[in-house]
Amino acid sequence: MKKLIFTLLSVILLATSCSLEKMPSGVVNSNDVQSIDDVAKLRNYLYIRLRGMYSGSYIYSGELMSDLFHASAGYGNRGGVHHKWQWTSTESLAEGLWGHAYFTNASANFLIQEMDKLAEKIELTDAEKAQMDMYYGEAYFMKAAAMFELVKMFAEPYTKNPQALGVMLVDTYNPTSDDSTYPGRSTVAETYEFIEKYLGMAATKLASVAGAKASMFLTTDAVTAMQARVALYKGDYQTAATKAASLVDGGKYPLISFENVDLTAANAQEQVSAVVEDFSELWTNDSGEECIMQLYADYAVSSVPSSIDGGYVSMNANGIYAPDYIPEQWIIDMYSGEDIRGAVWFEEHTLTYQSLTGKAVILTKFPGNRSLQDPTVTTSSHIQKIKPFRIAEQYLIAAEAYSALGNDEAAYNYYSKLVAARTLGFQGKAIAGDVLKKAIKDERVKELIGEGFRFYDLKRYGEGFVRSAAQNTDIITGAGSELTELMNCSASNFRWLWPIPQAEIDSNPQISEQQNPGY
């Protein structure tokens, strides 16, 4: 019997000890990046980050904050905090963008670190070296792009005070709980220096990647477009003008244009229709015309960005329109009857909010690319492919920069080319000086409405804004109220600078005394 007991015991004891080494399935250990293929996957992910940064509420919230829209009677307080300028230091959008940008930066730093390590570890072929060079360039660009979004949002414009506080600048991947290693805020000037440096490095590394219409990946043209935009926001008009003009003049990204329509021709109507058709396709099917870059999206593999539509349409399955935000009257008034944008990007509808109904013109610029949503759903999700750089913006950058440099002729040249393309039968008459400056500003609204520029432009102009008359006071919320319809937001309002997220203030001793004023 003793034998039996001991056999039993030893068998049981041996059988029951189990290994404590467990790894999750379907993921990779972060210190196990082994090959060029692994690195490529890390690099592809940076584009997902970029797409995220240029989509959803990061784009439309700025539009709701500015002077473009009124909240409708049934907006349900969606975006209300932004529209009413009531955000506080714990604002989730600010924290969202802050986190998104820094994670993008960290992901780029990690990629750079792993590529450095890989280059030491394995012998690379020339082709692989070239491939890695491109990845380095892309990683540099992502860092610059991320910091640019932050500096626009969280800091004073460079033109106002370059020595004001900018954002935290991070060059290495080092996730740690040791809070003495965390950086404080650099100055605006240092931040721009960082952005320009990395864009310059990106330009070098990507020099051989030629631009192509609607490229899904970064090209040398995309870097130039970014350099032009950064320069404009910085007030470096010479660079802005040169870079933007080079893209426009390069001719690789022609505008869809009325210019060549011969109104006297027999088929004038057809020619006009063809332009209108092409112009609609720009968003309806994301044709990629005029786009220096258009980021990848494919519903079939569930890789689609968030909608940049801030509830401008909201049509339900019963065909009832109930948008959250309705363009102000002045927006509607800006478009002439011959302006293709007014005709294609806006529609008049009867809007219904329970017991309240009324007519208004709404922004239908983002009808939604139906191939990016469930085909069986009849209503639109308003999902578009993300277009980080459109050539039209470069026309406007060139115009504005030249005008700032006092070269009204060149400024008018770029301005009028865009207007001519957009306006049927445009008969230009040269303008200059402040009239031209005002016209260019207006043109930015007309062309770029809904694409996430307005708030930063207003901030850059430093003039404040006043919301003005509604199209139809029956169907907006708080008609006559200074909180919404007639908000008067002065240039000195502290909320022009977004709050450094409270979570950052709390976790980072270097930044705890660097909150933006007012929060």
């Binding site: 019997m1 039993l8 015991l9 049981i12 189990c18 290994s19 404590l20 467990k22 999750p24 399935s25 379907g26 993921v27 990779v28 250990n29 972060s30 210190n31 990046v33 490529a40 996957k41 890390l42 592809n44 992910y45 584009y47 997902i48 980050r49 049934g74 209300g80 506080t88 230091s89 924290e95 986190g99 820094y102 994670f103 930066n105 960290a106 935290m168 991947y173 996730p175 965390y182 950086p183 494919d298 569930s302 890789s303 399955a317 019963n318 329970q354 017991s355 309240l356 069986t376 759903v377 006071t473 708080g478 109220s481 997220p501 409270q502 979570a503 709390d506 980072n508 270097q510 930044i511």
Partner: protein, 987 residues
């Protein structure tokens, strides 16, 4: 040795056959000390299997050899042996067995102990508390029963589990749930919804380190030890019971605006509406025609049925005992579609195979079908049933409104699929076309083999499996309005935990008075979880819509996780003359959950118990019937965290250009390790004047190496990472009092109460700082402050001059600008520091009444509900509380509701006192007279009873249910008030 046994058996058989020649018929009556007949006593001829048992009147009859000896036995009575000596009538008086009656308690591994010898702090709750409860979760019955144990049922969903906390909150981010042990093996908290409460023999709650350290790794939050029933009497006992009841919402929710009030409110908010023709016409029509729809009544079921039935057979023979039961339980919730149906079987069998080998199998198998109310998990969705109940506009109706040609109202037509008045789909329409079924098969199996090779040594191997297989099947059908994308989804989940425990226990005595028990053991646990989902869409026909029949197939989803533990442990018990008891335990634990540098940890405890009554100087003190003083100190661990937190990870993200992408997903932490709780416990139990039982325990617990998600600067790319930083302290007192108020033959009345006060304090945080705000949550950790004290900006009212809200800033200045930076500690806590329970048990002859009250005090919660129903910004779409009519309108108005359009903030005005007292259980039962039973010839007992749950709630909280264990409430499924009747028959 076997040969010897065989020989003996043959001999005894021979003896029996030899004795048959001189048989005699013996009869008699068995009574207790009071002269009452004792039924069910086993009467056995010594050394044989020849036996019978007494009937309801205590009578028995048996034919036995005239020189034999009769043995009378019954659990709880002293066994009596009487030589027959040719007597034809043998009457026996049996005495209660004081030793056996004293409760034994299972403490960790090894054999059970008498309560008076236990060194640690433990409380046992008996089966009477659990039986016939009209809820699926037996855990609900523990509320208020054990001093120091807080139990909350946070949802009225029939399949909801309870949350439990013992002696305060020990951890911020790791689990605060006790370790559950079922018949010796660790199980998950779902055991309470799996187990039929009628199968429970008792539940013991182990509170201090001395009793829990042997469980080491996972015992930091205490141990809840569940023992299921086993067969006890020799005569098989068959029990059948059935119950029927109804549920309704146990609440007194805020009063909402009626139609007239609602229109009035809208005009107050937006005066322009007074001249808006459309609006005025709507108002006239709805008010003139008395539209005032009862949305709460429409969406909630106020008489949801509960039906249950149980059947059990239990008994024992010389070599084995058995308990076999079958139970069925079906409950509908008050919210639509919510229900639970459960069928369970349990078979507990122990067999003494030989003198030295004992084996046993406890097997529970449960099939459960559940459905949860659609959208109920989405706090702020319009379609959450509780939001429909509150938010729906009173003038709206879910029906077509019929009018004549002149536009006069003529009545209601069909129910609308789309409620035009509110621009919402009809909830019932939505759920009708989106059916979802969920079911579980759950298995709890324990086997053991116990060998006693020599006297005093028990070697035991136990194996357990806890497993469930979960299936969820959902469809989105083609609906007449073509709202949905049709689809079919199938979910498969399997989870199992295997536990293997091997122990050796040796008991010996040195001299006469030194009793020693040594235990050593090893335990391994492995858990695996695997889930798989397949989905397809685009079916066009509701008859052909299985998951394989869609036109478009989604990528299947899959997940897998695994964890393992290896442990070694030992315990030493020593007592001197049943007067002084000492205990020491040690456990070494390893877990896959932690970083590779710190995977193993050691836990230990020491404790003593002094049975003072046994001292000669107290023996003669008559008023003192019992006195024990206990002291213990030890450490336990907490590993209640998710798998893989120590690993640095890269995961797949969305494709880009059709290619794979990899993103960083987690920071590596090779030093991640156990949280440790060091605890000290001092306890006194006494019984005084043979009337009062008193138990007082003082404890002090320090949590060390607390797992926290340390916030990182976003500059690192991450918002935080896990680390073992932070300490916390809980100290408090448990008091249990029991009074035998009346104790006569016909009438008993016992009152008992439990009380706990716990003081929680954070004593160390990360990075050397003494405070940390968790952004956007109203939570701040501060050294010296308790966890869960609300940290909010102080709202002080509405400025009568402007209608704007007023707050106090950090420096106590009044301001009308809200800022989270002005948040301060409010002195109000999310975790109640005080909990108490009161049990009243009254019996008079065959009638018994018991009532359990349970309450927590000092519990606060944020009413997120009020953010929506007291907020003029939402009034256009959502109904508002009637209190909104007090809204500020003009200078001089004194009110708490700010002017129209003012932003409502999360500040102290939403913070409400959610302390409550509930009549958790009220039971009245009547045992039908025994004389009636006798006439039936087969029944031995019949009982009818009525039981009520949550019949009364006392609270200041304005929302639906104060019991929800959360810092914030919105759209929570409230607890139900239940009333049931039942019958229980014993054969």
């Amino acid at each position: 040795m076997r040969k010897v046994k065989f020989f003996l058996t043959v001999l005894s058989l021979l003896a029996v056959s030899f004795a048959w020649a001189q048989n005699i018929a013996v009869k008699g009556t068995v009574t207790d000390q009071n002269g009452d007949p004792v039924p069910g006593v086993t009467v056995l001829l010594q050394g044989s299997t020849n036996g019978t048992s007494t009937d309801v009147d205590g009578n028995y009859g048996i034919t036995v050899p005239s020189n034999g000896t009769l043995v009378f036995s019954l659990v709880g009575m002293k066994t009596v042996s009487v030589p027959v000596n040719n007597k034809a009538q043998i009457n026996v008086v049996m005495e209660e067995d004081a030793v056996l009656l004293e409760d034994v308690v299972v403490l960790g591994y090894g054999s059970a102990k008498k309560i008076s010898s236990v060194v640690g702090a433990a409380t046992t709750v008996k089966k009477q508390v659990f039986q016939n409860r009209p809820v699926a979760s037996a855990g609900d019955a523990l509320q208020g029963q054990v001093a120091g144990l807080q139990v909350f049922t946070s949802s009225g969903e029939p399949s909801a589990t309870v949350s439990m906390r013992l002696r305060g909150v020990n951890s911020i981010n790791a689990s605060n749930t006790p370790l559950f042990i079922l018949d010796g093996s660790p199980v998950s908290s779902s055991v309470f919804t799996t187990l039929s409460s009628n199968d429970i023999e008792n539940i013991t709650v182990l509170k201090d380190a001395s009793s829990t350290a042997i469980y080491g790794s996972r015992a930091a939050n205490g141990v809840v030890y569940i023992t299921t029933k086993k067969g006890a009497s020799e005569k098989p006992t068959v029990k059948v019971s059935a119950q029927y009841g109804v549920s309704s919402v146990a609440s007194n929710p805020a009063e909402m605006c009626n139609t007239e009030q609602y229109f009035q409110l809208r005009e107050m908010i937006d005066p322009a509406l007074k001249t808006n023709a459309q609006f005025q016409e709507l108002k006239r029509f709805r008010i003139e025609n008395d539209f005032n729809f009862d949305w709460r009544g429409w969406i909630l079921n106020e008489s949801a049925p509960t039906v249950s039935g149980d059947l059990s057979i239990a008994g024992r023979t010389e070599k084995m005992d058995y308990y076999v039961s079958f139970s069925a339980f079906d409950q509908k919730g008050v919210e639509p579609e919510s229900m639970l149906t459960r069928y369970g079987v349990r078979s507990n069998i122990n067999s003494k195979v030989t003198d030295w080998l004992k084996v046993g199998l406890n097997l529970g198998l449960t099939y459960q079908e559940t459905s949860t109310a659609g959208y109920s998990g989405t706090g702020n969705s319009w379609y959450n049933p509780m939001n429909i109940a509150d938010w729906s506009l009173p003038y709206a109706v879910p029906y077509d409104i019929l009018t004549d040609n002149a536009g006069n109202f003529t009545g209601f037509g069909a129910e609308q699929d789309y409620i035009e008045d509110m621009g919402l789909y009809n909830y019932f329409y939505l759920i009708k076309w989106q059916p979802l079924t969920k079911d579980y098969v759950r298995l709890n199996g324990n086997t053991y083999q116990e060998i006693t090779p020599i006297k005093g040594l028990v070697i035991r191997a136990a194996q357990a499996i806890e497993a469930f297989d979960y299936r969820a099947s959902s469809k989105v059908l083609t609906d007449p309005r073509k709202l949905f994308t049709t689809s079919a989804t199938e979910n498969f989940t399997r989870d199992y935990t295997l536990t293997s425990t091997n122990t050796a226990e040796y008991k010996f005595t040195i001299g006469e008075k030194h009793n020693v028990v040594v235990l050593a053991g090893h335990e391994s646990i492995i858990n695996q979880y695997e889930a798989f989902q397949a989905k397809s869409s685009g079916m066009s026909d509701n008859r052909v819509n299985n998951v394989n029949q869609g036109t478009k197939f989604e990528q299947p989803s899959y997940s897998f996780s695994e964890k393992a533990y290896n442990s070694y442990f030992a315990r030493l018990n020593y007592d001197f003359s049943d007067k002084y008891f000492f205990e020491a335990t040690y456990r070494k634990d390893g877990s896959s959950l932690f970083g590779k540098n710190k995977r193993y940890a050691d836990f230990y405890s020491v404790g003593a118990n002094w049975n003072a009554k046994r001292e000669s100087f107290l023996e003669d003190v008559e008023w003192l019937n019992k006195l024990n003083v206990r002291l213990s100190y030890g450490t336990t661990g907490n590993s209640g965290i998710s798998e893989y937190l120590a690993n640095g990870l890269i995961g797949s993200s969305s494709q880009y250009d059709g290619k794979e992408t990899w993103g960083l997903s987690q920071v590596e932490n090779p030093d991640l390790t156990w949280e440790t709780v060091e605890s000290t416990n001092i306890g006194i139990n006494a019984r005084l004047f043979d009337f009062v039982d008193v138990e007082v325990e003082l404890y002090n617990k320090n949590t060390k190496d607390m797992l926290m998600e340390i916030p990182y600067s976003y500059a690192t790319g991450f918002s935080g990472g896990w680390g073992n930083i932070g300490n916390m302290n809980n100290k408090g007192v448990d008091v249990t009092l029991g009074f035998n108020v009346i104790s006569t033959k016909d009438m008993t009345f016992n009152v008992s109460g439990t009380f706990n006060y716990n003081k929680n304090e954070i004593t160390k945080l990360f990075g050397g700082r003494d405070e940390f705000v968790v952004a956007n949550t109203g939570i701040k950790y501060q050294v010296g402050k308790p966890l869960g004290e609300f940290y909010y900006t102080r709202w002080i009212g509405v400025d009568p001059a402007t209608g704007k809200q007023l707050w106090l800033d950090k420096d106590d200045n009044v301001t009308n600008v809200f800022s989270e930076d002005d948040a301060v500690f409010t002195g109000k806590q999310r975790y109640a520091p005080v909990a108490a329970g009161l049990q009243l048990d009254f019996a008079w002859k065959n009638l018994s009444v018991s009532a359990n009250f349970s309450g927590v005090f000092g519990k606060w919660t944020i009413s997120n509900t009020r953010y929506f129903i007291e907020n003029s910004n939402f009034a256009a779409d959502q109904n508002q509380s009637a209190a909104m009519l007090n809204m500020w309108q003009k200078p001089g108005d004194i009110t708490t509701i700010p002017a129209a359009g003012e932003a409502i903030e999360f500040d102290t005005h939403l913070l409400e006192n959610a302390s409550f007292v509930r009549l958790k259980n009220l039971q009245v039962s009547y045992n039908l007279p025994k004389t009636w039973m006798k006439k039936t010839g087969f029944l031995t007992g019949a009982r009818v009873y009525a039981i009520g749950r949550n019949l009364l709630t006392f609270t200041e909280y304005t929302g639906y249910d104060p019991e929800v264990d959360s810092n914030l409430q919105l759209g929570n499924y409230p607890n139900s008030k239940q009333f049931s009747f039942g019958v229980e028959l014993t054969f």
